[in-house]
């Protein structure tokens, strides 16, 4: 009995010792990691990306038209096109015929598929170089990461079953509806501010929120207006959507403290949207949102108009 007890105690002490060693190692890892701002090219993610020959992009795979898999299993969408613009810019092939070679450009990118709630953690732990995943800019988030210039203005809409007896946000009031939504910062008060008497059900992905509506567990799913348009156009008769509200900005994000990398991502996006690479951006915009963009004006810079 005594031997058995001793063995158990020894085993417990061993466990505690192991725990202490692991904790110490983790603590040391935290304490000694480089937290300086990247003030030279050698400290910047840009150097890492160039040395690696690939840019690691955090994005999703289940949210059309932003990032989703096509019939062949290939990641496509507006976010994916922005990632390709970034790779084309970083690796200097913007005026090369290779820029039109989809396979070649994709070879310059490593996509890391992540849930929306992993966007900030994966950046902060260097798992990805940049997040391009329909990320809404909030000041609160800007205290954690640095945002690039915006590449879309989004709004929220309610996806509805086609036979729902309401079609606008005004008509949804006073119905005691259940609304499925992506679990996100401040989402419950934001929803209740629009439909005051609703019950809000939060899901870990937008696909789950839509599935909950499809299953009759929710009366509506709050999603992006762009996604609402996409679903309504690609699955005719299955859904309808309300008017949009709560306009917001979509940007990519990078780890804080790396101005060189941020500048480069900004330049790639800027030249895609209003500069020399505008043609590809226009084509993407038309493909994913159905909108024809006006050509950038010549002369006075468009940014100051």
């Amino acid at each position: 009995m005594s031997e058995e007890r001793d063995a158990r105690l020894t085993s417990r002490r061993g466990l505690m010792r192991t725990g202490a060693v692991v904790s110490g190692a983790v603590g040391a890892g935290f304490a000694t990691r480089n937290v300086r701002a990247a003030d030279s090219i050698n400290d910047s993610a840009l150097k890492r990306v160039m040395d690696r020959g690939k840019v690691i992009v955090g994005t999703g795979a289940t949210n059309p038209p932003w990032h989703f898999e096509d019939d062949s299993g290939k990641l496509v969408g507006m976010d994916i096109d922005m990632a390709k613009e970034l790779a084309i810019g970083i690796f200097g092939i913007e005026e090369d015929p290779l820029a039109a070679d989809d396979e070649h450009v994709r070879g310059l990118i490593e996509f890391v598929i992540q849930e929306p709630n992993a966007r900030i953690p994966n950046l902060l732990t260097d798992k990805v170089d940049v997040v391009i995943q329909f990320m809404t800019v909030t000041v609160n988030r800007a205290t954690q990461v640095e945002f690039t210039i915006p590449y879309y203005r989004e709004a929220v809409t309610f996806l509805l079953p086609p036979d729902a007896p309401y079609s606008t946000i005004a008509e949804m009031q006073g119905q005691g509806l259940t609304i499925a939504v992506l679990q996100n910062v401040g989402v419950e008060p934001a929803m209740l501010a629009v439909v005051a008497d609703a019950t809000i059900e939060q899901y870990p992905s937008i696909a789950d929120a839509i599935a909950a509506m499809d299953a009759g567990r929710a009366d509506a799913a709050a999603i992006d207006l762009s996604s609402g348009k996409w679903f309504a156009s690609t699955t005719p008769g299955k859904y309808k959507f309300t008017d949009g509200y709560n306009a917001q900005t979509y940007s990519a994000s990078v780890k804080p403290g790396d101005q060189i990398w941020l500048n480069l991502v900004n330049t790639c996006f800027h030249e895609a949207m209003v500069g020399i690479n505008h043609k590809r951006f226009r084509a993407s915009f038309k493909q994913w949102f159905g909108d024809d963009l006006a050509l950038p004006t010549v002369g006075y810079p468009v940014e100051f108009q």
Partner: protein, 247 residues
């Protein structure tokens, strides 16, 4: 030699690239407490319902009826070889969509399984039932033949034999396995978060999404899972130790 305590504030506040801010957890401790209680409640219900399913299935399989035996084997093999998450998704998203919108069948499913919590508990009970069938089955097999012969010699019917002889002996044998199953089911409740249940994992993820504090939220949930599982294990081991076995 004692460590230099004066350096600790530096370690925890200045030198960490990720500064730990536990107030985001402490200010919202009710999310975690409610989530923990919900997880315990769901796992307890699943253990009770799963035990009933397991007992019925184990006796059905050992009854000698071939149809019952094949049916139970199919159930056990199917459930044991699919992930719990898939089962939960089938019950929550799949079942209602098997029937047209506004049909009586769909309305019935939504009435019986109206919330993520109830749907998850039912799925977890069926999941637990398959494992408990195996546990109870092993318990039944462990009952010595001499007890069965003694019961038969007294003229006990099959039902009486199961109730008064096999049942009590088997339950004593499987009690430690039931403890393990309960702890396992408690940890499995983390899956409920995927269908919107506000359990412990939901609380951890909410701290992440609302305040961008993934480490604090998940560490707090992890510690609560660990401590609760330990307490359950110690309590059940103590209870087992108090019961004098005389099989």
């Amino acid at each position: 030699m004692l460590p230099d305590v004066s350096s600790l504030p530096l370690l925890f506040s200045l030198r960490l690239p990720y500064q730990l801010r536990w107030e985001y957890v402490l200010d919202h401790k009710e999310w975690f407490i409610d989530g923990l209680l919900l997880a315990l409640w769901m796992s307890l219900i699943a253990l009770v319902c799963g035990s009933v399913i397991g007992l019925v299935c184990a006796f059905a399989r050992s009854s000698g009826n071939r149809i019952l035996s094949v049916a139970v084997t199919c159930y056990v093999e199917f459930i044991r070889n699919v992930p719990l998450l898939l089962l939960v998704f089938i019950f929550y998203f799949g079942l209602p969509q098997a029937f047209p919108r506004r049909s009586d069948e769909r309305e019935l499913i939504l009435t019986l399984l109206p919330t993520p919590e109830r749907t998850f508990t039912v799925a977890l009970s069926i999941y637990a039932g398959a494992y408990l069938t195996e546990i109870f089955g092993a318990g039944i097999l462990s009952v010595s033949r001499r007890y069965l012969d003694a019961g038969r010699s007294l003229g006990l019917s099959r039902l009486s034999l199961a109730r008064f002889v096999v049942g009590p002996i088997m339950l004593r044998t499987v009690l430690p396995s039931l403890s393990n199953t309960f702890i396992s089911l408690f940890k499995d409740t983390g899956v409920a978060f995927f269908i919107g249940s506000r359990d412990l994992s939901f609380a951890a993820n909410k701290v992440n999404t609302d305040f961008f504090r993934p480490i604090e939220g998940w560490v707090a949930a992890g510690v609560l899972y660990l401590l609760t599982a330990w307490i359950i294990a110690f309590a059940l081991r103590f209870a087992e130790g108090r019961i004098k076995w005389s099989v």
